[in-house]
Every structure is written in C-alpha cells, then in structure tokens.
C-alpha cells in the first residue's frame, strides 16, 4: 500500500483536483477514507451552521435600519419624505377637524352658541377692563404721581391702560 495521503493530496482531493494515485490509495486505505469523510463532515457542519447564522443575522436586522450606506442613500430624499409626512399629518388633522366640525354644524344650536359666546365674551372682557380702569383711577396709583414724576400722557402705563379689546 502506498503511504498515507499528504496535506497537499488531501487538499487537492477535496478541491476536486484529484489524481489517480490519490484515488488508488483511498480505494485501499480505510484510515485516509475516514480522514476524508471526517473533514467533509466538519466542512459541511461549518457550512450549514455559518449559513444558518448568516441568514438569521439578516433576518434579525430591523427593516428600516439605516447604516452608513443607507444614510448616504437617504440624504437625497429625506427632506422630501419629511415634507410628505408633514403634509399627510396636516391632511389627517384637517379631515378630523372637518368631520368634527360638520358634526357640530348638524346641531344649529351648538354653532350659534359658539358665535354668540365669542361676542359676549369680548363684551364681558371690555366691561371687566373698564371696571379695572375705574378702580385704579379711584385709587390713584399712577407711578408718576406716586414718585412725583410729571406725566406727558403717553407713557407706556397710560397707553397700556387704554388698550381695550375691539369686537370683530
């Protein structure tokens, strides 16, 4: 029997580069056949395990995970995507508001009360401001008078006190 296969012969045989002497030896040497089978089994095990690992790794990635490459790819259309999102949000809110407003409009009392409430509220505000003015005048708490400063009539305190709300 010829000597056992060398590393080179084993590598060549597993690489498909077999020569006749190698095959002849394998036909008559159980040890070398066993060695070849063991190597093949190890390679197959590593092939299957590493492929399973790789597929699992890909499967576990978030769909929208932006890597460095994706960051570069997205830079061109990111503003467009943001604008589209903002527009979609605005449309949704507009639709929700419209539906809600129509529901209120179906009830005429609700709509009328909204308008009258607004006008009445302004009138109440003006009455309150006038009452405050009168109260302050009666107390004579003007800073110019308190600190002996002559008032020209257009100081911010005076202007602010005259600012009543106007009805629409």
């Amino acid at each position: 029997m010829t000597p056992h296969l060398t590393d080179e012969q084993v590598a060549d045989y597993l690489s498909g580069e077999s020569v006749k002497t190698t095959e002849t030896h394998l036909a008559e040497c159980a040890a070398c056949r066993g060695e070849i089978d063991r190597l093949r089994a190890s390679l197959r095990a590593f092939d299957q395990a590493s492929m399973a690992w790789s597929e699992a790794r890909i499967g576990s990635e978030p769909v929208s995970k932006p890597g460095r490459v994706f960051s570069r790819m997205q830079s061109g259309w990111r503003p467009l995507a943001a604008g589209t999102l903002a527009a979609a949000t605005a449309i949704v809110f507009t639709l929700l508001f419209t539906v809600h407003h129509r529901r209120l409009s179906a009830d005429g009392n609700v709509r009328a009360s909204n308008i009258s409430d607004s006008t009445a509220e302004i009138e109440r505000d003006n009455l309150l401001l006038r009452a405050i003015d009168e109260e302050l005048d009666s107390l004579d708490l003007s800073p110019s008078k308190m600190y002996g400063i002559s008032s020209t009539g257009d100081d911010p305190y005076t202007r602010r006190r005259s600012g009543l709300r106007s009805t629409p």
């Binding site: 190597l39 095990a45 590593f46 790819m73």
Partner: protein, 167 residues
C-alpha cells in the same frame, strides 16, 4: 430577489474572512449599492455571484485601506456565535448526539479559520463553503490560479491540523 439570494453568502464570506460582523454588514450593504449603480455595466460574462463577490472584495480592500490596523480581526472570529446557528441544523441532523457533534465540528472549523491569513480564509470559504471552481476563485480574487491552489493547500493543512487529523 438578487439581494435575498446572494446576501447571506456574501455576509458569511465577509464576516468569516474579516472577523467583524458589523463591518461585514456595512461592506455587504456597500457592495449591493455599488452593484446597483453599476448594474448597466454587468455584461454577463461571469455569474452574478462572481460579479458580486468581486465587488465585495473591492469594497473590503477600500475599507482595509481606510482602517488597516483594525481591519482583519482574527481574534474577532470568536465573536461569531455558532451555537445558536447549530440549533438550526436540528431539522437536518437525525439525533441530538449528531446535532451536538455537528455543532462541535462547526466550532472547531471556525477556530481553525483564526489561524489562517485573510487571503487563505477568503479562498477557503469560496472553495469549500461556496463551492466555487478554482478558476472562478482566481478570476474573482485576481490571484493567479497557482496562488489560489497554494492558499487552499496551506489553509487545508492548517484546518486539518487544528481538527487533529494531520498525519
């Protein structure tokens, strides 16, 4: 379809040749981006797989130039945990003992890869895992055929030695 078919194999090649899982994912993404941009230039004179592998190796060279001291991480290969992946063999192996043996064999080959040079790892994976022809490996890597054979012999010798079978 192109991505789903080849991505796992590319990720495996880059991960187990560089030893860096995160870098491998970036390289693979870059590879597909370059392939998409260069799709018009693909003439069909080689397989899509070979074309993608060539692009991936070029991307790896680019990254290697940028971060050479840290690129090839032989120690990082231990970071790839094949234990869970071995459980995926459950449907293919008949008994728990056989599954456990297959898991041990896979881990030993992985450890053996640590002792190989980066080029030996690439050639080893292409030949014995992806079953590429020697001529195809030569065309993909740009190495002469004789160099590819030399790498395969040295890689197999190292792996065989690590597996405890060298005579």
């Amino acid at each position: 379809m192109l991505v789903s078919t080849h991505r796992a194999r590319l990720l495996r090649l880059v991960t187990f040749s560089t030893g860096d899982q995160d870098l491998a994912e970036t390289v693979v993404q870059d590879c597909f981006l370059k392939a998409y941009r260069a799709r018009e230039s693909f003439r069909g004179d080689c397989s899509v797989s070979t074309w993608l592998y060539t692009i991936a190796l070029n991307v790896m060279r680019d990254y290697q130039r940028l971060q050479k001291p840290h690129f090839w991480k032989s120690a990082g290969l231990t970071a790839v945990d094949l234990t869970d992946a071995s459980s995926a063999l459950a449907s293919q192996e008949p008994s728990p003992e056989t599954r456990m043996l297959a898991g041990e064999q896979a881990n030993r080959v992985q450890l053996a890869l640590k002792s190989l040079s980066p080029k030996q790892r690439i050639v080893f994976i292409m030949r014995f895992l992806d079953e590429m022809e020697l001529q195809e490996i030569s065309a993909t890597t740009g190495m002469p055929l004789s160099t590819v054979k030399t790498h395969i012999r040295r890689a197999m010798k190292a792996v065989r030695s690590r597996l405890g079978g060298a005579q």
